[in-house]
Symmetry: C2
Subunit: 430 residues, 2 copies
């Protein structure tokens, strides 16, 4: 007999997963290798930036009061009392009608309160003494980068869980993090099941397909920020699948399988979860594709049973496994980012289930436009290549027309969202 | 005397760089390690997908003509003539009023032309023979995934230079690429100059700053798809800088330096290019920040002289070095993606130069909104942390108001654009 399963809403299913998702471990790595990782601690400014009043230009540090009367007809001459290279500090005190040659980034000498750019002065020498001639008046503070104007000491510049982009890398260097505390990448095991699967290197045979889901998932794990451990593919045989799942659990932080979760005679995952003593969180999601997605937990470790259909597998990963990985990375916006976009194509046939259409985003004069990225059946693979969003079409009794505002979930975004699943409803604006 | 340099428009400068940028080399790597790389050859379908008519569901393969009279009051009974697991092929011919048990993904047996889902039939057994009862009529082709409906043999599924995302990975696996021809990452050397620079691990000292630019550039190189070779930092000393640049050139595909390109007394890069015999492509860009950005070429190898100011350095990399890296990766959209956004803040003070404001993007009901990401002086570092776009404010005699449409260049995007630099003009729409 066919098992009857009760479909649960996407949001409720994701909530169940996040209840078992937990923060991971911390490790310290070199700054050179930290790009693309996630901070395991808040990044705090250990000093003001700049840490001293400095010159943003090559030029001369002066006392603005000396230039009060300067015009192009009546220039003011200042004696060049010295020179400071970047990284050098001027020892003396600068007196009235004196100037100091200063390089970009160098500290403003004692007594000076403005900088004039090199291009704006005339230099001349009299009796072996250098002078400059200034043809305009300056105000106190002109062309000075003041201590702390960029960042003040103690400021939290990036929170734990932040993705390390080039700007964060620059801040880490500025504040002395030659070693960076980052989230250890969770080890995510991947196991493909299905007697129809060929190795990628094998020739096609009648009735068989190459194992594409496993490699797709490895790539999704990397995009999410995790580390994959590929555990191979298995035929539909209960005992070997059971042993493989059981052994995998001791080696990984979470386990993803693809295939075997439906209600067919060779779908062994439900029975495997049962024999393991794993608690099934849900086994039917009110969505298309991916309704058979099953998630279980055992001793707090998550087991993701994704569909064997490529598109359904892809969707199941992004909705359920991605947030679990991002939570391990201390990220507090672990879900796909949700935005509003204008639908680029009609979906006139109603569907009782919420659909997640693989879509491509584009902009039309700054308006986000979402169109299906190709052939969109649950078994399709070609539409995944150009997909950078899911178009969310809530289930119901009516269809959707081109030009309507719809929710989209962004796939290539590193910001994420805290919780995208509230009030996903159709909005029939045109 | 101060050298007078003539500013050249951004587009013209980028054009000069791309004239010397060239495609890189190809290498073959395993499918598991191909994520995030760029294809070195077109990805072509070597077979139809599906490669045979198959069942998208668990159920029974039937002949639709046998169900013509089936209703809930007058169901039709079909004899179960056999069973096919996924990956198996049914040998015989299915006759009138026969059905074959079929699993998801399995090949439709000879003689059948529709599939009915498992949930929609009643199974019963009479005299050791299994039967199913069907209560509705089916049409020819119902619930069949037809050969080639996803992808047809010979189709170019992704062009050379395409970024390998999880969807592309799935296609590579489907079409038997256990080894993938990818673009070899160009080796990009990085050298920081400036006597004011401390190592990241050093304590702050008066007048000095930690070397943040070099690490920021390493991170930018990785984001662009290149491989960095960090060559250390040097004091402002002509001979040691000259030797370091000369030696670096033989080890890298292109070289990036930061600092030493301005017109100050310690800015040695122009003299180094001169002594090397490198041809300077430009040394003054009509933009803020980064106007002193200098690019030279020697025997076709590009030397990027970026500013020592963090924001100016960052901008110079993304505008000039990024496309050179992406071109090496065979990518034909090597430049930052340009879109229209609504300005989130006033910039009332006019500036004769085109400004590239480090900005953060957000969406307001599907409209792209761009706001400055923080303190935006050329020496600033904090604004880079949250920047995911440059807001382009063309130079001129007037300012910009919040709500205006402006051009933005996206930093975290993998699509890129062919040429974003034509007709970057202010559009005074509100």
């Amino acid at each position: 007999m066919v098992e009857r399963r009760t479909p649960i809403s996407i949001g409720e299913c994701v909530r169940k997963v996040t209840q078992y998702a937990k923060n991971g471990k911390k490790e310290t790595i070199s700054l050179e290798s930290a790009s693309g990782r996630f901070l395991a601690e808040d990044l705090i400014a250990d000093h003001n930036v700049p840490s001293f009043d400095r010159s943003p230009y090559d030029g001369f540090a002066i006392r603005s009061e000396d230039t009060r009367t300067a015009t192009s007809h009546h220039p003011v001459s200042l004696k060049v009392a010295g020179e400071i290279g970047a990284g050098m500090v001027f020892d003396g005190q600068v007196g009235a009608f004196e100037a100091v040659r200063i390089m970009t980034g160098a500290q403003i000498p004692e007594g000076c309160n403005a900088v004039i750019m090199l291009e704006l002065v005339n230099e001349f020498t009299e009796a072996n003494q250098k002078f400059i001639e200034i043809k305009r008046s300056l105000n106190e503070g002109d062309n000075i980068s003041f201590e702390g104007e960029d960042t003040t000491k103690g400021a939290v510049l990036a929170k734990r869980g932040t993705y390390i982009n080039p700007g964060i890398t620059a801040l880490l260097a500025t504040f002395g993090y030659s070693n960076v505390p980052v989230a250890k990448k969770p080890i995510v095991g991947v196991l493909a099941t299905g007697s129809e699967l060929l190795e990628v290197s094998e020739q096609l045979k009648p009735g068989k397909i190459r194992n594409s889901n496993a490699y797709m998932i490895l790539s999704q794990i990397e995009r999410a920020g995790g580390e994959f451990k590929y555990l191979g593919k298995l035929d539909d045989d209960f005992d070997s699948c059971f042993m493989a799942v059981k052994n995998a659990l001791s080696e990984v932080d979470m386990l993803i399988t693809t295939g075997g979760v439906s209600v067919g005679d060779y779908d062994y995952l439900p029975a495997i979860y049962d024999k393991l003593g794993a608690a099934v969180l849900f086994n039917k999601v009110a969505m298309r594709p991916g309704s058979v997605t099953t998630v279980a937990q055992m001793n707090g470790k998550l087991l993701f049973g994704l569909s064997g259909n490529p598109s359904a597998c892809y969707v199941g990963f992004e909705l359920f496994a991605r947030p679990a990985i991002r939570i391990q990375l201390f990220n507090d916006r672990p879900h796909l980012k949700r935005e509003t976009a204008w639908l680029g194509e009609d979906f006139t046939k109603p569907n009782p289930f919420t659909r997640l259409i693989r879509g491509s985003l584009s902009y039309d004069e700054g308006r986000l436009l979402a169109s299906p990225s190709g052939f969109n059946k649950s078994g399709a693979v070609s539409s995944l290549a150009t997909a950078d969003a899911f178009i969310v079409l809530p289930g119901g009794t009516r269809g959707y027309q081109k030009g309507m505002a719809v929710d989209v979930l962004l796939l290539e975004d590193v910001q994420g969202s805290e919780w995208p699943w509230d009030n996903i409803v159709p909005s029939y604006r045109m």
